[in-house]
Amino acid sequence: MERKVIRQGLAFITILLVLIPIYKFFYFIINEKWFNRVQVTNDISPFDVFDLILTTTVTIVLAWFVTKKFTESRYKKEFVINDLKSIEEQINNIEKLAILESRIDLQNQLYNLQLLNSTIEKLKYSMILMDLECQQINRLDFYFQLLFQETTNVDGNEVDFSELNRIELDNCCRHFILVIREIICHINRH
């Protein structure tokens, strides 16, 4: 609520700051008859040439720099978001397996979890390399450990999904996926 009020206030101030100069500009054009005072000349001074070259160069360099930065930033975000989507897909697969199969071999489950962990590690390392900061990233480890505990706490060599507490598994997967979506939103915003 407080955030919404601040946002609306900022929007109002921005609109005012934009409208006042526009009003002043049109007032100047209409009332001051500025075009009567304009004088066009064919003379070019060295300063004009220098000014033209400098302005063009600065504009080109600035445009190139801004475009490059923007493209790089978007590329980094897309890269990390794809990893996050892949993590979500793997969690969904583990959950689907628990719904569709009554029993699976423990080694298969361990392999699935190892793959999931490997993707999380790759994501974390990529975020460090790309200087992308997000506090929620550590929560992925917490939910991974919870999922690991839930799905590999077995007496023998098979995971019996019919014995698992489905509600706990569902809660764990849901929270895991929600954290991933929070991270995606956070990365997109910054």
């Binding site: 423990l106 392999y111 991974f144 690991f148 706490n153 077995v154 023998g156 060599n157």
Partner: protein, 107 residues
């Protein structure tokens, strides 16, 4: 004195099971009884540390970890076990984190 060592994949198995030996092969219970307990006792007798190499296996189940390393801490005391065991790994850093945060959780 040189440290005691256990390479789980070589000294026990690369395909690890669940909790109990009567239900499946290469369980945490079997690992505790046949490998871990004796090596730990030896390390304590020799006043050295026990290095455990985790790499080379297909993975660890939470019940295997609890029935082996958890049981060790329950029998010999958490602080002593923490000081004696050193885990070595390139692939299973998260397993070490899991042991420290969940299996060896202080109550």
């Amino acid at each position: 004195m040189e440290n005691e060592r256990i390479n789980i994949a070589k000294d026990f198995s690369s395909l690890l099971g669940g909790r109990y030996k009567k239900i499946g092969p290469f369980s945490g219970e079997l690992f505790f009884e046949e490998v871990l307990e004796s090596k730990y006792m030896k390390a304590i007798e020799n006043n050295c540390q026990l290095e455990i190499f985790l790499d080379g296996t297909r993975g660890y189940s939470s019940s295997f970890l609890d029935e082996s390393f958890g049981k060790l801490a329950r029998i010999f005391g958490l602080e002593k076990v923490r000081k004696t065991l050193i885990f070595r790994t390139n692939d299973f850093q998260w397993v070490i984190d899991y042991i420290n945060q969940n299996v060896w959780k202080e109550k």
